[in-house]
């Protein structure tokens, strides 16, 4: 596990400004704003995620959920406020952005696998080019995670030859190959046929059991109930309510959360 310790060392180095490593939250957002023209996607968002915590972000469409998690690895650049990831501030410095992206893995709604590469090449590209791993090591690592998401036999195929569920599991394996400490999921099952949703959620549940920090934007309330430590409910760019799943589902505080739950739980 030499690459694992390398990765940890990198993380510690990046976070040396914070003396007490154990208390550094995985994610800390303070008064974060994000605008698209006149539209305010994030409106004074405060959020703290502890290491190892599983967060499900939900809310109506256009409420800023995706923007929120896309700001965490700087795929989207926030306009105002502070974002720290494992103690590293996202302040537009290239080196900090790189450090944060090394600590985070992301899974997209539309998978975004590289269509011209095999499944295996998809998984080995980043470890080899960004981490300088040898091809043999990278292949071993990729096969390890492909086995974990239960598709090692598809390694030589191209993404276009796989089902949506299989593609999304490859995307999860590809992200894991960089040994992230935080996994970000942006509606990972929304583009899937109904019968494929379960295999992806099962994979995510297994991952959750291993103690990795997870932030997941999803409408899968069954998954939220089972896996989440906390539900973050958003509306119109604001975090309206945060609560443990049991409390959120049985007794939502805000009117907006109540109508939202009425609409999505049939």
């Amino acid at each position: 596990m030499s690459e694992m310790s390398m990765n940890t060392a990198g993380g510690v180095e990046g976070a040396t400004a914070q003396p007490q490593l154990r208390e550094v939250p995985a994610v800390r957002m303070e008064a974060v704003y994000k605008h698209y023209g006149d539209f305010t996607a994030l409106n004074e968002v405060d959020l703290k995620v502890a290491k190892g915590e599983k967060i499900v972000v939900c809310g109506p469409s256009g409420s800023g959920k995706s923007t929120l998690i896309r700001c965490i690895n700087h795929i989207e650049k926030h306009d105002e406020g502070l974002i720290y990831v494992n103690g590293i501030e996202l302040d537009n410095q290239r080196k900090n952005i790189d450090a944060v992206r090394r600590d985070t893995g992301m899974v997209f709604q539309s998978f975004n696998l590289f269509p011209h590469m095999t499944v295996l090449e998809n998984c080995t590209l980043a470890p080899m080019t960004a981490n300088g791993m040898s091809e043999a090591e990278a292949k071993d690592l990729a096969m390890h995670f492909l086995t974990k998401v239960r598709i090692p036999d598809q390694a030589e195929k191209f993404p276009g030859q796989l089902s949506g569920g299989q593609q999304q599991r490859v995307a999860i394996a590809r992200a894991l190959c960089m040994r992230p400490k935080i996994m970000l999921f942006d509606e990972p099952t929304s583009a899937l046929d109904p019968e494929m949703v379960k295999e992806v959620l099962e994979t995510m549940k297994k991952l959750a059991e291993e103690g990795i920090t997870m932030l997941c934007v999803t409408h899968e309330m069954g998954f939220a109930r089972e896996v989440a430590d906390r539900i973050v409910f958003m509306n119109e760019g604001k975090v309206v309510e945060q609560a443990a799943p049991q409390e959120f589902f049985s007794n939502p505080k805000s009117e907006r959360a109540r109508t939202f739950l009425d609409q999505i739980i049939h």
Binding site: H116, A130, G160
Partner: protein, 243 residues
């Protein structure tokens, strides 16, 4: 001379003088494609730049060279520029004109190829901490290139025929040498039949090359899944060779 002589046409086809003209045509085409691609790639990058001065300059270039006939461009470079004291050899004039002109077309093809690669591909590369160079070289470029092949093929086909315009500034390529033979022997149809056959052969060969390129770079498309499965070991081998 009121008839067409097939034997004479065949003789012109195997005429050594004409064959050398064919080689010049091929040379002009290849050089203009290579030069045009390099220059066109640069112009496309400028055109996609967020800097308004750079993208404006690229736009102006494309507007000018696509908006004027290649024939005028060649004549101006060959006969006009010496008036300003700028003088090149005939071949250089033809190459400069063809490259400048072709670059404008290829720049737009390159740009449309890159724009057609989805934003999600770049986002995935960022999320994986790939460097900008690796993102370009391994993620966006191969996908953009695949989309560029069909329009690129058309453009090269046009270019191959457009090299005949260089005959006007006395480059002795296929067209010019046909003219010379024709003026010597007055067998107009016979000479041009041979030249036509050469142009058809050249464009057909290019068509075949283009089809192979499309097939090669389209190997990951789902429609060809069965063949790709059969070829999996080959793909594997190429992965190893690259490392």
């Amino acid at each position: 001379m009121s008839h067409f002589s097939p034997t004479a046409a065949v003789n012109y086809f195997f005429n050594y003088f004409l064959m050398k003209g064919v080689l010049v045509t091929i040379g002009l085409t290849v050089a203009a494609v290579v030069g045009g691609l390099i220059l066109g790639m640069g112009i496309a990058l400028l055109r996609m730049s967020s800097n308004p001065v750079l993208s404006g300059a690229a736009r102006l270039y494309i507007w000018f060279f696509r908006g004027t006939p290649l024939l005028i461009q060649l004549v101006v470079i060959y006969s006009g520029l010496p008036q300003l004291g700028i003088k090149f050899s005939v071949i250089t004039c033809a190459l400069v004109g063809l490259i400048l002109n072709e670059a404008a077309y290829l720049a737009e093809i390159v740009r449309s190829g890159f724009m057609a690669v989805s934003a999600g591909q770049r986002e995935a590369a960022w999320a994986l901490s790939l460097s900008p160079w690796v993102t370009f070289r391994r993620v966006t470029l191969p996908q953009a290139f695949r989309l560029m092949i069909p329009p690129l093929g058309n453009s090269i086909n046009s270019l191959l025929k457009a090299t005949s315009l260089a005959s006007v500034i006395s480059v002795e390529e296929l067209m010019r040498r046909s003219d010379m033979l024709m003026q010597e022997h007055f067998q107009i149809l016979e000479v041009y039949a041979a030249a036509t056959a050469y142009y058809l052969i050249l464009t057909s060969v290019w068509d075949a090359i283009q089809r192979r390129l499309e097939k090669h770079f389209g190997r990951s498309s789902a429609a060809k899944s069965r063949r790709v499965v059969a070829r999996a070991p080959v793909v594997q081998a190429s992965v190893e060779a690259r490392a």
